[in-house]
């Protein structure tokens, strides 16, 4: 008896136990649930350059122990792509997260957010403390709390006469050479050796949306001052864990350290870690997430 197994089987290590969608203002948001342990962990979306598969190295492990929720952030994956910048305000992503909690009948959850998702986790924890057991902010994209990486700063909106390095973070360049931008950004996000697969994934997921949609996500409203950021972070009352790579080339490690301080949280530094430790240091991150979530689950019961 012989059997052939396909080479590029898109199979997942774990399949969702439940899938659903919620609609807000005509925008569809698709969510998935894995496992049914306690407590619930909501793995938030991040920037819509990727979708919820960016948690693929967490889901199978966490779902064996906890109840895991994910959803595709508006702008990528199976969720909608509204055509206006206002639909990509921070507040919209936070409201989507709440809608997913409601739709999945989840009273409270531990929030986990990467990069922008870390910002939204803080926003949700500050605004709706009764729904949030704790928050893990991984390489949070929170500006104003620490100096950005040194180097030239290029305007996002203006036509530039260079496309060198971070000059690629520019709407005109995106519309001209979207893949070129994705490859550049993925190369920065994955500074670790042996990241070829993770870079390929990010580029492929990035190609599931468009340069034009990604421009809108960049134009959505975000906190605009240190005061605004501090107000949010100081309002977070739940236990907070900040995880930040010390070789993060997208968001400086100092920002994560400052966020931990402002939220009264704990900082864990991933030595040699880049911007996406959940993908490149999954065992480390998974153990941190499980330990954090289970400590809160025990407290809650």
């Amino acid at each position: 008896m012989t059997l052939t197994m396909a080479a590029h089987d898109p199979a997942r290590a774990a399949r969702p136990g439940e899938q659903g969608e919620v609609e807000r203002d005509g925008v569809r948001v698709c969510w998935e649930r894995y496992g049914d342990g306690e407590p619930t962990v909501l793995l938030l979306p991040t920037w819509s350059i990727v979708h919820s598969r960016h948690w693929k190295a967490q889901i199978p492990y966490l779902a064996r122990h906890l109840r895991v929720l994910t959803f595709d952030g508006r702008g990528n994956g199976r969720s909608g792509r509204p055509p206006t910048a206002g639909a990509y305000d921070d507040a919209e992503y936070v409201a989507d997260a709440l809608a997913v909690l409601d739709a999945s009948a989840t009273e409270r959850a531990v929030l986990v957010g990467l990069s922008r998702g870390g910002r939204w986790a803080a926003g949700l924890a500050a605004a709706r403390p009764e729904r949030v057991l704790g928050a893990v902010l991984i390489d949070p994209a929170i500006a104003f709390v620490a100096p950005p990486h040194p180097g030239p700063v290029y305007p996002f909106d203006e036509e530039l006469d260079t496309a060198e390095g971070w000059a690629k973070f520019n709407r005109h360049y995106w519309c001209r050479d979207y893949r070129g931008f994705l490859e550049f950004f993925a190369g920065q996000a994955f500074s670790e050796t042996h990241s070829t697969k993770q870079i390929e994934d990010m580029v492929e997921w990035g190609l599931e949306t468009t340069a034009e949609t990604l421009v809108l996500t960049q134009l959505g409203a975000q906190p605009g001052s240190r005061a605004e950021v501090e107000t949010i972070l100081r309002a977070v009352r739940c236990p907070v864990l900040v995880v930040h790579g010390d070789d993060d080339r997208v968001r400086p490690h100092a920002a994560g350290a400052a966020v931990a301080e402002l939220t009264g949280g704990t900082l864990v530094t991933i030595g040699g870690g880049g911007h996406c430790p959940q993908a490149r240091h999954p065992v480390r991150v998974n153990l941190l997430l499980r330990e954090f979530a289970e400590s809160l689950g025990r407290r809650a019961t």
């Binding site: 012989t2 059997l3 052939t4 197994m5 396909a6 042996h194 070829t196 697969k197 390929e200 065992v283």
Partner: protein, 307 residues
């Protein structure tokens, strides 16, 4: 002696962290050769992850151990010639009979009555001997990409002599003892490049080269000469005596050992064949989820009483 300098450097590299650490470790000793074993988990039955060619040590199973140990009792040991096991000199110390006897010694040292064997590549030689000669100790044999002479090798590998000096270093001419002693790392880069044909194999390649640099090229020469002593007819005869359930898993893009060798082993042992489409020679490293699930499925198929 550049190679030797590299070696001493390689030994000082700290071991990588592990997803799971052994619950017990120890040495079995046979004829003065010490063999380092590890045990993980304590489920039923025992899975015995055998060594392969001494170019690597037991960490080549690193993507299997954490998963399998959640369900079973998992034994590994460093094959003589690498890892924390001894490196006896001479080809005679590296025949398939020595490896099979080592495996038996590890079973005894760990008080393991019976086990399911899991082997990769050359490990098929000693797995088969064990299953044939000690049916009371072996409840099943799971083979990955077996390196067995039951079907012809890839044609490009049959061109060059291993023993004789060659006037070229091109391609498979690097599979030559003189070249190994001259440019060990060059051989390793070449060889593992052919083992790992899948994209995104940079880490696995680095791991394998690093493990191989933990031994002297002369030891690898000894181990290869030892394997060459394994007679085909004797192996065929062993295959015919295997009575336990057998599953052979072989990649159809294995550039080291053709898929036909796996198919021939399945036939010779009355086993079942699973083909991994697109896989190279080290699917345990490059397709660990598929391999792990296949191992588990195989173990579960053996049923309770046979354990």
């Amino acid at each position: 002696m550049t190679a030797v300098k590299e070696l001493s450097g390689a030994r000082t590299v700290p071991e990588q962290t592990r997803a799971r650490y052994p619950d017990a470790t120890g040495y079995a000793e046979r004829d003065g050769v010490r063999l380092f074993w590890e045990r993980y988990g304590d489920g039923e039955p025992t899975l015995f992850l055998l060594p392969t060619w001494s170019i690597v040590h037991a960490r080549f199973w690193k993507a299997q151990i954490p998963y399998l140990a959640r369900h079973y009792r998992v034994l590994t040991f460093d094959g003589r010639g690498n890892g924390r096991s001894d490196r006896p000199a001479g080809a005679g110390a590296y025949t398939e009979r020595e490896f099979a006897a080592d495996a038996l010694a590890v079973l005894d040292a760990t008080a393991t009555r019976r086990a399911v064997l899991v082997s990769l590549s050359c490990g098929a030689l000693w797995a088969t001997l064990l299953a044939a000669d000690h049916p009371d100790r072996v409840t099943g044999s799971f083979y990955l990409c077996p390196a067995v002479g039951l079907a012809p090798p890839h044609p490009e590998r049959a061109v060059h002599s291993f023993m004789e000096p060659l006037d070229t270093d091109d391609g498979w001419a690097r599979y030559n003892q003189h070249y190994w002693l001259r440019d060990y790392r060059g051989f390793l880069e070449f060889f593992f490049g052919h083992c790992l044909t899948e994209p995104h194999s940079t880490k696995q390649h680095e791991d394998c080269v690093g493990w191989a640099l933990g031994i002297a090229p002369g030891t690898l020469v000894d181990s290869q000469q030892g394997l060459l002593l394994c007679g085909l007819e004797r192996f065929r005869e062993s295959c015919a005596r295997v009575r336990c359930p057998v599953l052979v898993v072989h990649g159809d893009e294995d550039a080291i050992r053709p898929h036909a060798q796996g198919a021939a082993l399945a036939e010779a042992t009355g086993g079942r064949l699973v083909t991994l489409a697109g896989s190279g020679h080290l699917p345990q490293a490059r397709d660990p989820v598929r391999v792990n699930l296949l191992v588990r499925e195989f173990v579960e198929s053996l049923g309770g009483p046979a354990r």
